[in-house]
Symmetry: C2
Subunit: 251 residues, 2 copies
Amino acid sequence: MSKVKYGQMSKMKTETLEYRHDDVVFRGHLVHDPARTSELPGVLIVHEAWGLGDFVKQRAEKLAEMGYVAMAVDMFGEAKQASTSEEGMGWTRALRADVPRLRGRILAAHEALLGCPQVDRARVVSIGYCFGGTTSIELARSGAPLAGVVSFHGSLATTHPAEPGAVKAKVLVCTGADDPFVPPAQVQGFVEEMTRAGADYQVVIYGGSKHSFTNPKAAERGVAGLEYNRMADQRSWSAMHAFFEEIFFRT
Amino acid sequence: MSKVKYGQMSKMKTETLEYRHDDVVFRGHLVHDPARTSELPGVLIVHEAWGLGDFVKQRAEKLAEMGYVAMAVDMFGEAKQASTSEEGMGWTRALRADVPRLRGRILAAHEALLGCPQVDRARVVSIGYCFGGTTSIELARSGAPLAGVVSFHGSLATTHPAEPGAVKAKVLVCTGADDPFVPPAQVQGFVEEMTRAGADYQVVIYGGSKHSFTNPKAAERGVAGLEYNRMADQRSWSAMHAFFEEIFFRT
């Protein structure tokens, strides 16, 4: 851990958390509220195809304010960010084609978060956006002992479907009815996969919503089918919050 | 209005609310908290195929305690309850085959609730279970000026799909992934109907859940495919609550 700094107006504490997997160095972005001294639930936040940027850092800040130790994960190494949409989509395509490597990276991030003294190791979830949602679901499929995972407009297809009994994490999927990257047949395939696996899962379909509905800058990427939707953003955040309440505080 | 009585342990006030449609007399079950003196949001609660019984009355009581004027609707007339599953399913089949009559009955209940002095007419929703979910969605399709409708394991098929622009109510559908009466193709057909209609809608699919997942006595009906699911019951109730918070208090 290095580069401890305090945000300008924020009372949250921000650190860079370094970890390794297969000789690659990753730099996560860890945020928590130093005023809370008891062990706190931990949240991994996995970025979109563009890498660990402001969007997930802002969500980490928000989650830290809500009382979680939030770690924005680095899936590309050295906290690389894509300079073009094509570059980011190339990186995620390569990782998705190599599921063991993808799972290895998110498992390494999970281990790193578990090593933080502020984190209650029994109460950890992974959430993610787009590629990060896919990654969080791969972490669940891997059988990692998490409390839960949440995917926001993540692709639900995989080359490594969950084995029966493998999924320990409760699963919440938030998806747009008009998302061209997550079409109805893919959602139904996921439902069937999770049913076969015996997973505890929920899928929420938001009407009038395309891909990347949580990101106010979605349209700036110049990729067709991406669009911010304020209602779906708020509703899915609220659904996540209710999910956390259930798994962290009621069971 | 007649038969004012107070529940044994409850501080809620219960009344029978009579109303008419096409020469049939209906007897709704109205509950509110007399300690709350300001105008309150109103909730129509529509019963399953078995008629206005204890299940919806208990939900009405719960909603009244939460601060709503709750009216358990009578869709069969004279507050009739089915003596067998076959009888109830026969009654609902007949109503579903005559959508104008079905809509007329729920619209009459809606009018009756709007006539109650405790109700804030701008803040009314309709929720329902099984046949009652279907009925609430038909009310939305009719273009009635409601704030919202919620269907719990209601059939989503109709002979009168919503016209573009018709649906004024926000729509929340809670459905079981393993509900044989609401199979995936029906859910997808509903998504397409609502998209074409330009409705504001959300669909939540609960894994491991069959038909009637909210009703602890589901299995007693002796109908295949009905099963209580405690998690899906709690989660869908919590989703409804978040939906009410949004439409009644945040917009």
